[in-house]
Assembly symmetry: C2
Homo-oligomer: 205 residues x 2
């Protein structure tokens, strides 16, 4: 009987793991650094988890890196249902939030109840951005695409005609709140970019 129950639990878990395979087909606005194609949300999530692992010393508060990694691994799973809302797309924040919450309930709802609720809680914590873990995770989620734009000579900023002021207002507060030192570096790179100089990693020194 115990084994029967465990098997039914496994069935739900495997259905969830199969479903999230679809995140590999959600294409983002940002390119790979070699500009061979656009990045997808699954590999983006992997890269963010590595960013959090490597850069946890720059968090403004005391963070639990492993919780931050878990948040970043699952933060975009809702895009399976609703797609990626680009930061420069001008979509309604309220509509987006409602659609994503509904997607989170459906997708995490595929799991056994307790496990699904735990992950839903973690996803909601990320969205609310009130804890230090979530604020650092949010900062990383803004920092990585900014870096891509810097190192590909403009990326989505050039495509969408984004100005220096818009970069500062759309990325600044979130990165500064969760990882202030990273933002001081970004400010320098962004200013250099918009003044026509090509920033390099060594400019952080």
């Amino acid at each position: 009987m115990e084994r029967m129950k465990q098997m039914s639990t496994l069935e739900q878990q495997i259905n969830f793991l199969k479903e999230i395979d679809r995140l590999k087909s959600v294409v983002r606005q940002s390119p790979l650094l070699d500009q061979s194609r656009k990045e997808n949300s699954a590999e983006h999530s992997w890269h963010l988890a590595m960013y959090a692992l490597i850069l946890n010393d720059y968090a403004s508060g005391t963070v639990n890196t492993n919780r931050v990694i878990q948040m970043l691994l699952l933060h975009d799973i809702v895009e399976i249902d609703v797609g990626d809302f680009p930061i420069h797309g001008g979509s309604s924040h309220e509509v987006q939030a409602e659609q994503e919450a509904s997607a989170a309930r459906r997708i995490f709802g595929l799991l056994p109840a307790e496990q699904g609720n735990n992950l839903l809680d973690l996803w909601q914590e990320f969205e609310l951005a009130e804890t230090e873990d979530a604020q650092f995770a949010k900062a990383i989620d803004r920092f990585q695409p900014l870096l891509i734009n810097i190192f590909t000579g403009g990326g989505t900023w050039t495509e969408s005609g984004v100005s220096l002021d818009q970069v500062f207002s759309r990325y600044g507060p979130v990165i500064k709140r969760g990882a202030p030192l990273l933002w001081t570096v970004c400010e320098k790179w962004v200013s250099q970019h918009f003044s026509g100089q090509a920033p390099r990693a060594s400019d952080s020194a």
Copy 2:
């Protein structure tokens, strides 16, 4: 001075994070579940981390799920230099191990020394597969591609003319050692597959 040092550290970390972007261009043998294209090693690593998060109850020993997740996030980074060695490719294990160790030293060596050494240790622990964490991580790394083959009607087994016995010997010991209950399910699915029945997730119940 302290700040200068911190900035130089950040420069090394960003160079590492830029370098590993290339893992998104390493193409594996396995397809996505919708068979639209082959999987790459970055999104594969993301998926394995999610497998470990969801399936940690099936580990044979007492594992630290967060360490397992970290291992799986970085276990394939060496493929940036040496590519993916397919399980059914018949390549020399010794040559592969040497090339991968050299790649690990180069890539983790981009990081500040202490951080790079810690990640190199974690990568070596995975490779050696002596700890319970590493054995569970290895089991997950075999289980996910097996599942892809099952749910795409054969996948790399069909392409490479792999037999039932070969599947049992190439996947069985590793999955059984790290996650015995998952292997009992695999045995059933694999047997069904090779007898011409199409396994479904509900067959785990």
